[in-house]
């Protein structure tokens, strides 16, 4: 078991290194120098070079990369070029927001997908199955930002109701803090429920197709409960895989929801940094996202190993 874990960890390291290089190089390919952007429209020759030197952007790329990597290993992610605030500090503020959104979305996703998936499997190829599957797909085929817009604007127009703008900190108001995640997490959850539902349904079908299982099912509630438990146990692994993937995707992919609902999360932070060529922030945020994703995948693999004894050997 520990050998397995160790193996997975070792395998993760080169991936992280490759990722760190991509993270470093890609933003520098974006046209438009950060210094020119800072000066908006009025750049003039000598000023630019001075500013570049101040920001340490005048040295060769390889040097900058190695220096950066060295500092990262020591836990120093540098400072934002625009606000001079330490990147690590900013990330620490925003990470929990993204995590909460992601986890809550996953909860909603599971709460929707599991019952619907079970229903669809048990009533395979009937109207109920069609409706369930259609509803799930419908959930993901409406662009999220559109639902979000309707949900925000219509109550304001119809009833003059709107939540207070600005992010509510947990310490200031715990319930308000959680409440502001509910709507975006719900919309995100509905969208990701489809894939989960498919998986649940497929896994359950695999169990149910065996004749002895079908016989057991017809015998009554207690047997049905056993069947379901058996089916769900089978489904756990792929379901957990998908959930892991979803958390990962949710992590940086929630720019739109953060914009609309005013949540200061990682996605928006990164998006702004890309628009402003804030290289240290882009690098730091990307690296953190990648690290979280890799960690999540590792966790999922560990869960596999715990659940499925076959893998341990």
């Amino acid at each position: 078991m520990s050998g397995y874990v160790l193996h997975r960890l070792v395998v993760a390291i080169p991936s992280l290194l490759i990722a760190s290089f991509i993270v470093f190089a890609l933003p520098r390919l974006i046209p438009g120098d950060v210094v020119q952007l800072m000066l908006e429209e009025q750049a003039s020759g000598s000023n630019l070079d001075d500013l570049r030197a101040t920001l340490g952007l005048d040295r060769p790329i390889a040097t900058q990369y190695v220096e950066w990597l060295g500092r990262v290993v020591r836990g120093d992610l540098g400072e934002s070029l625009w606000t001079k605030r330490p990147v690590l500090g900013e990330l620490a503020r925003r990470l929990p927001v993204s995590l909460e959104l992601g986890l809550l979305a996953v909860c909603f996703s599971v709460a929707i997908a599991l019952p619907v998936g079970i229903l669809a499997a048990v009533r395979q190829d009937t109207v109920a199955d069609y409706i369930a599957r259609s509803a799930a797909i419908l959930g993901l085929s409406v662009p999220g930002y559109w639902v979000a817009t309707l949900v925000i604007v219509l109550p304001a127009i119809w009833w003059g109701w709107s939540p207070a703008p600005g992010f509510v900190d947990f310490r200031a108001n715990p319930w308000g803090h959680l409440a502001q995640f509910v709507l975006p997490a719900l919309i995100l959850g509905v969208a990701s429920a489809a894939a989960l539902m498919r998986m649940t349904r497929a896994m359950l079908l695999e169990v149910l197709r065996q004749d002895y299982v079908r016989t057991a099912w017809s015998k009554g509630l207690r047997e049905r409960a056993v069947v379901l438990r058996h089916g769900m146990a089978n489904a756990i692994i792929p379901v957990v895989t998908i959930l892991g993937l979803h958390v990962a995707q949710l992590f940086g992919g929630t720019v739109i929801f953060e914009t609309i609902f005013g949540l200061p999360g990682m996605g928006l932070f990164l998006f702004d940094a890309i628009s402003q060529r804030d290289y240290p922030v882009i690098q730091g945020a990307n690296l953190l996202i990648v690290a979280v994703v890799v960690a999540t995948n590792l966790l999922v693999d560990l869960l596999y190993a715990v659940i499925d004894p076959r893998i341990r050997s």
Binding site: E41, Q42, N47
Partner: protein, 543 residues
């Protein structure tokens, strides 16, 4: 200020009705009710890009800094001021004199205190601070507004409360330039302690409110400066600027009563949403004015076919400015065409009727005439050109671009739209590096000189087309040296007439927008520019 009768009646209260009888612009009635102290202004704002007025031109930062900092002179604010006019009044300087054409002596108020925050700790502002701040303005690396003070030669401290500016040449706009939000005065200790003024802790000024808390991506909280130099002001205890990115969310929050002012820049409420807003918010106060911001078309004047005046005129005549105004959600059909000095500048912009006939023609939509001009210039079946712009100004802007390009198509001008990402656009296209035609927005300046100097004088950063017209340069120089306002206006009108015949750049229309504020807000009125602080300092909340 064009407040309609309907608006006046909606404002309610006998006090204002009396005012309507006496004339809408009389300040008396508005002040008849005693101002109340207290309350917090809630504004929908933007993420500031640092807190250094000398390192940014962005309204995102300057609107906030206008509430925390002061300058020597400022634009008058309040219901008595007609939007689009820029009368000046003392800010930090209590009086000034002009001993010669190129010398200005400012006498500062006594007892002006900086915010009681480390490292400045509420000490008194002196002439040394002014000298320091302006010298930093002129020398700090990367100041995009630097050329505003090109004519300044030196700044001297005469005594503790007196500063003298000596200019290289007479500059009639000097005081107006000093009133701009780029001229906010910063504290030496803040710069020396923090190295620069990007951090919120370094945001220390002498303005009516102080920086209390900055939560990036969330809000900026300002609180009253206990020793603000205008005693009794500000009335409001604080200002809360929420960073709200999405226009739909901003509008929803406005409808829900979460903001005291219109949700867009300059407290604008999109005219499209006005009816809905009035239903939801009875007693909503509104005013209309023309924004100076306008769409501009830059053309490389040394490249075919834009070197031919007839082609440029054809492009202008082929553009129906009314289409753009009708398609835009802010304007929703209300707007005005712009000569070279934007129509928003009531005192300096030339009425179209005063333009020479060819100049007036530019604003009369006529695709047939455009085609005729093109044929005359040698392009009977039109021509094709790349057009660079960015989607970064938002979907409203892109709609306007599409309307304009459609207009051109009808006259035979095919455009190949090349969109650039916003940052890349600023770094290249706006800096002049584009391939034939570029479209963009222009309009951040609060005095007409910048609209001519920056765009038409060779070597200036916004002179993207490469204009090099000696006569024009001389006229622009002349108006900069002419102190007599009437004479200066004549020269400006001559310049605008001249430019309407040259069509070096094409000017889109400006929108007449609606500014909205809550029924409880008193003594507030809009104007051009980023000076939120000036407009809010004497306003108060009646709740």
């Amino acid at each position: 200020m064009t407040i309609s009768r309907r608006d006046v009646l909606k404002l309610g209260g006998t006090a204002v009705a009396v005012g309507a009888a006496r004339g809408l612009l009389a300040p008396g009635p508005a002040a008849a009710q005693a101002p109340k102290r207290g309350g917090v202004f809630r504004i929908a704002g933007f993420e500031p890009q640092g807190f250094d007025p000398q390192q940014t031109l962005s309204y995102r930062s300057l609107t906030i800094l206008s509430m925390t900092h002061s300058r020597l002179v400022r634009m008058k604010a309040g219901p008595a001021v007609r939007p689009g006019t820029t009368p000046l009044e003392p800010d930090l300087a209590e009086s000034w004199s002009q001993p010669g054409d190129t010398a200005y002596v400012f006498r500062l108020r006594r007892g002006v205190r900086w915010h009681p925050r480390p490292p400045v700790n509420g000490r008194e502002l002196t002439a040394d601070d002014v000298k320091y701040s302006y010298e930093r303005f002129l020398t700090v690396a990367g100041n995009p507004a630097r050329s505003l003070l090109d004519p300044v030669e030196k700044i001297e401290v005469l005594d503790r409360y007196t500063v003298r500016f000596t200019l290289k040449e007479p500059f009639a706009w000097f005081l107006d330039v000093l009133a701009s939000t780029s001229m906010l005065i910063v504290a030496r200790e803040a710069v020396e302690t923090y190295g620069d003024l990007k951090k919120a802790e370094a945001c220390i000024g002498t303005g009516p409110w102080m920086m209390e808390r900055y939560e990036p991506g969330v809000r900026v909280t300002l609180t009253r400066h206990p020793e603000y130099f205008l005693s009794g002001l500000p009335y409001a205890d604080g200002v809360e600027i929420a960073v709200e990115r999405d226009p739909a969310s901003r509008f929803a929050a406005f409808l829900g009563g979460r903001y005291d002012f219109g949700p867009e820049y300059a407290m604008v409420l999109r005219r499209l949403d006005l009816d809905v807003a009035r239903q939801r918010k009875p007693g909503l106060q509104t005013a209309e004015f023309v924004l100076p911001n306008m769409n501009m078309t830059w053309m490389k004047l040394d490249q075919k076919p834009f070197d031919d005046l007839r082609v440029r005129r054809a492009m202008a005549i082929a553009t129906n400015w009314r289409d753009l105004v009708a398609a835009n959600a802010w304007a929703h059909g209300h707007g005005v065409p712009n000569p070279a000095v934007p129509a928003a500048f009531q005192e300096w912009s030339i009425p179209l009727a005063e333009l020479p006939p060819e100049g007036r023609r530019l604003y009369e939509y006529d695709p047939a005439e455009a085609k005729r001009l093109l044929a005359e210039a040698g392009y009977p079946s039109g021509f094709s050109t790349p057009v660079e712009t960015t989607a970064g100004y938002g979907p409203d802007y892109m709609d306007g671009v599409q309307a304009q390009l459609q207009n051109w198509k009808a006259a035979g001008i095919e455009s190949e739209l090349r969109l650039k990402e916003y940052g890349a656009f600023l770094a290249t296209t706006v800096a002049g590096k584009f391939d034939k035609v570029a479209l963009g927005l222009f309009g951040n300046w609060t005095e007409p000189d910048s609209y001519l100097y920056r765009l038409y004088v060779p070597g200036q950063p916004s002179n993207a087309g490469g204009v090099n017209d000696d006569k024009l340069t001389e006229m622009i120089g002349l108006q900069r040296r002419t102190f007599d306002a009437r004479r200066r206006r004549e020269i400006l009108w001559d310049i605008q007439r001249y430019l309407s015949q040259k069509a070096y750049y094409l000017y889109g229309p400006s929108f007449s927008v609606v500014v909205a504020w809550d029924a409880a807000v008193r003594n507030f009125a809009p104007n051009i520019g980023h000076d939120y602080g000036g407009r809010l300092v004497a306003a108060w909340l009646d709740r």
